[in-house]
């Protein structure tokens, strides 16, 4: 047994521990060829274990495409080698983490990854270069400090994001933190979020006009509102649906102008059901919620959701969380104080850009401007100490790949600055043009075309060198870079965005970036930018300079960048880009054929198949694979002579297999064994759907008999039961296949 499984067994929530054990069982089973690779891929994605570039066993080394000779030929997904290193996404609801959690993630980065914690544009943390077989222990260690990776990837509900200033912000209507947490808890592993055709990203915002929550670019967005109802003030949300970036960005539509805090979970559940039922499943390019909303229209979508909402069986959890909303209130760890006349070098510049004075007088929120969202193991340990010393033990990640410390007494700011500077975390320029967002791009993403991190790093270095001399209008701009059109780097909502593509010159591939101008970050990602032309990667920094300098020169009074771009018009913009579009011959300047941060000649041959959505695997396949995992674990327990455990697992395997079928008839079955057996009997036994041509209802009786037995298992009875569990699972597979064939015939 793994040392972590044993030592942490009492520190991980029981259901989380079981899920991880189950996942570990599926890893073992897959190694023995017992789980289909597509099913295993979706299973690991739903646990946040993602593929990474070159995991198909091919890599261009600068001269030729090398076949990477991994020790085994086994795969962990279609075209994905078992031994290839992957990425682990760690879900941090609303970006919240404690010092202890940061320390554990740092330990994991050192022991299982490449020593770096990477903050993503959805407030997650990612660890790269991880072996799939290390993931169960990694998950246990996270589980022991209250973090789950469940549904961090895959076709399900992704991380719930929210403003990092929630609770301390001047413009918020109320603190959205408790609600973001309630949504996370409610939907985690919920049956209604398992049958999606693709991912669903939710976000919360405390106010309408700032950017932080970005609700209008999310699948489901919640904007805080207060209404006067029956003479009292009631909290709730304006709910947006169908937003999203991706190749074709969609602005979200208003589903309802107001839903009360006591109803928003139910409304969300109804949205999930409609999406699971009516959303596209086969064509993944049109499977996001935004397409469904666009196809049926917001009026019809709203009608469907309301109808579904009325029909939902009541769930006490819709309101139960309201009793503990106060537990998210934070208070400072120090009495506040002031400081005067600090002479520390760099402090003033840092204070101007990285310090936000909170609504609560005397306290500040401080942004750590992380380069490319990266932080090292040792920095993390020291940062954890700093957080304990200066704040009430919390911090938040941001969608701009930074970390925010809240409730810092303003009197502590000079000392805090010094402490952060000692570990290289006091870089000024947060939320300014130097604070560039970038997706992983060709560094690790299978879909990356150009080196977004390479370009972002180069732009950051060049801009930081002249930050002090930049015009304030330029400083305030946002720059965001994606490695391809998929927009993980949020290029659509930047003043100046770039996304990777490629062109050819004399038969050679040349890395390029498409320039996207005039997106709006404020107003919760109020509008999207337009692509105006591609330039070679090499020239992208010059293009940025040309645009920003011209803007500083020509802007009228307080004219913002979007207005200036609109006034300038496409023809003028094209003219500005024109001098930078030319690619010299390779012989004249080979540097154009090498991407930023790389030394190899550029290639498109490393492009793989993305796992952003995973394969669309049926609800049945996902659930039955868990049943198979349990049956396998039962066998292992039997081998170890652990009769009680083997009996329990074999029984649960049958329940899970029955549930896999029942879900096709009733999504509300839940996990109660009585309910599963009763629903199974009603839909599959009484109707004879589960019957075998020869054995008739025999396999179903295996489950019924075990369900009602009270006799203590013996080694023999247990051996039988394990055998029966496997037969039951086989029968479930046959039944599912039969139903699918009948459906097809119809």
């Amino acid at each position: 047994m793994s040392i972590w499984k044993d030592s942490l067994k009492n520190r991980i929530p029981k259901d989380w521990a079981e899920e991880i054990d189950l996942f570990e069982g599926q890893i073992k089973l897959r190694k023995q060829g017992g789980v289909d690779e597509k099913v295993f891929a979706e299973t690991r994605l739903r646990r946040g274990a993602y593929g990474q570039r070159y995991d198909n066993g091919q890599r261009y080394d600068g001269i030729k495409s090398q076949k990477l000779k991994f020790p085994t030929d086994l795969t962990k997904g279609p075209d994905t080698k078992w031994d290839a290193l992957g990425m682990q996404r760690i879900k941090l609801p609303f970006g919240s983490m404690t010092p202890k959690q940061l320390e554990v993630m740092a330990e994991l980065a050192e022991e299982y990854a490449d020593g770096i914690l990477h903050i993503t544009t959805r407030q997650d943390v990612q660890l790269h270069f991880i072996h799939i077989e290390d993931t169960p222990d990694l998950m246990r260690r996270l589980g022991a400090v209250g973090i789950t990776t469940r549904e961090a990837c895959g076709n399900s509900i992704r991380n719930v994001t929210a403003c990092p200033l929630a609770g301390v912000c001047h413009t918020e209507v109320f603190d959205v933190t408790p609600y973001a947490h309630a949504l996370f808890e409610f939907l985690l592993g919920h049956d209604d979020v398992q049958g999606f055709g693709r991912k669903v990203k939710p976000a919360f915002s405390g106010c309408e006009h700032e950017a932080c929550g970005l609700v209008k670019m999310h699948d489901i967005g919640y904007l805080a509102q207060v209404r006067e109802i029956d003479g009292g003030l009631k909290r709730g949300f304006r709910v947006y649906v169908g937003g999203g970036l991706g190749t074709i960005p969609h602005q979200a539509k208003v589903l309802t102008d107001f839903v009360g805090e006591d109803e928003f979970l139910a409304l969300t559940q109804a949205v999930c059901r409609i999406y699971a039922r009516l959303g596209e499943k086969r064509n993944r390019n049109r499977a996001r919620l935004k397409f469904l909303v666009a196809d049926v229209g917001i009026e019809e979508f709203t009608r469907l959701v309301n109808e579904e909402w009325q029909a939902l069986p009541y769930d006490p959890r819709w309101k139960a969380y309201l009793d503990s909303v106060d537990r998210f209130d934070e208070s400072p760890c120090h009495e506040t104080d002031t400081f005067e006349g600090v002479e520390v070098e760099g402090f003033a510049e840092w204070h101007e850009s990285n310090v936000y004075l909170q609504r609560q007088e005397g306290y500040a929120a401080v942004t750590l401007n992380l380069p490319l969202g990266d932080i090292s193991v040792n920095q993390s340990f020291t940062l954890a100490d700093i957080v304990r010393r200066f704040t009430p033990d919390t911090m938040r990640t941001t969608v701009e790949q930074n970390i925010v410390l809240r409730w810092v007494s303003v009197g502590d700011l000079p000392t805090l600055y010094q402490a952060l500077d000692d570990i290289g975390l006091a870089t000024p320029g947060a939320a300014s043009i130097v604070d560039i967002t970038s997706c992983p791009g060709t560094d690790t993403c299978k879909l990356g075309v150009s080196a977004s991190r390479g370009l972002a790093g180069e732009l950051r270095t060049q801009l930081a060198a002249r930050n002090g001399n930049l015009d304030q209008a330029i400083k305030d701009l946002r720059v965001k870079v994606s490695g391809c059109f998929n927009s993980c780097g949020h290029h659509h909502v930047a003043d100046i965005g770039f996304f990777g593509n490629s062109r050819r010159r004399e038969g050679r591939a040349v890395p390029h970036f498409q320039v996207v101008l005039g997106g709006q970050w404020k107003e919760n990602a109020g509008s999207y930018g337009l692509a105006v032309g591609a330039v070679p990667s090499k020239n992208a920094p010059k293009v940025l300079d040309a645009l920003t300098e011209r803007y500083a020169r020509e802007r009228r009074n307080d004219e913002n960048f979007q207005a200036w771009i609109a006034r300038l018009g496409k023809i003028e913009i094209k003219k500005t880009l024109e001098p930078y579009t030319h690619v010299p011959l390779f012989e004249q300047d080979p540097s154009f054929f090498i991407d930023w941060g790389d030394v190899r000649n550029f290639t498109m041959s490393d492009l793989g198949i993305g796992e952003c959505a995973g394969e669309v695997v049926s609800l049945f396949s996902l659930n039955i694979s868990q049943a198979e995992g349990l049956a396998f674990d039962a066998l292992v327990a039997l081998d170890e002579g652990n009769v009680k455990d083997a009996d329990e697992k074999a029984y649960r395997a049958m329940l899970q297999a029955a549930k896999s079928l029942v879900l096709s008839k009733s999504l509300d079955v839940g996990n109660d064994p009585d309910a599963i057996v009763s629903e199974f009997r009603k839909h599959f036994f009484d109707t004879e759907l589960f019957f075998d041509k020869f054995a008739k209802g025999k396999f179903a009786h295996y489950l019924f008999d075990r369900h009602k037995t009270t006799v203590k298992p013996t080694i023999d009875s247990c051996r039988h039961l394990v055998h029966e569990a496997n037969l039951f699972i086989e029968a479930a597979h046959t039944c599912d296949a039969r139903m699918a064939a009948e459906e097809e015939a119809v």
Binding site: Q66, D114, G115, I116, N378, Q379
Partner: protein, 180 residues
């Protein structure tokens, strides 16, 4: 079996090696795949992160790292898996052997000189947490291998940091490695 063991050879002068040169060298090593027992896969660049791994040659079996952790620069070899030896002593011998190969290649290709000490850390907080008992027990294991005639110092008292030691010169193994 310990999960990961890291050996770091600090540079003689505490300055970063020229990063583009290092990255180019690592890429060339991948092209040639000349290191026996290692499938060299990719190069990761974190030069923008201080006190960290900066450039990593990622192999299936190990990471070879231009490392500025603890704010001093050096070359590190982190063995990750595919151990052939059993027991702590065996694992240490094995990691030292491999580390030596990469150190020599680095020295030859990049003309870097190394200091007169090395650091060895056990990146496994499950089996080798940084506790006072382990600090004593692992020092006892390491002394005959690394520091018979030299000194062995603990890298970090803080239990969050991996258990690790610095072996200074006059130790047989350190001298032997620096001679080669």
């Amino acid at each position: 079996m310990l999960k990961r063991i890291k050996v770091k050879f600090p540079f003689a002068e505490d300055r970063a090696a020229q990063t583009t040169k290092v990255a180019t060298t690592f890429h060339r090593w991948i092209q040639n795949q000349t290191f026996e027992g290692h499938l060299l896969i990719d190069v990761a660049n974190y030069m923008h992160v201080p006190n960290s791994y900066n450039i990593i040659l990622v192999a299936h079996e190990a990471d070879i790292v231009l490392d500025s952790t603890d704010n001093h620069h050096g070359l590190a070899y982190v063995r990750k898996n595919t151990w052939t030896s059993d027991g702590v002593e065996g694992q240490i011998e094995e990691v030292m052997d491999y580390a030596k190969t990469f150190k020599t290649a680095f020295q030859n290709d990049l003309c870097m000189t190394f200091g007169d000490y090395l650091e060895l850390s056990f990146l496994d907080r499950g089996l080798a947490p940084n506790t006072p008992e382990n600090q004593r027990a692992y020092a006892d294991v390491l002394r005959p291998i690394l520091a018979k005639s030299g000194t062995l110092e603990l890298l970090h008292q803080d239990p969050r940091y991996a258990l690790g030691f610095r072996a200074t010169s006059h130790s047989r193994a350190v001298d032997r490695m620096n001679d080669e």
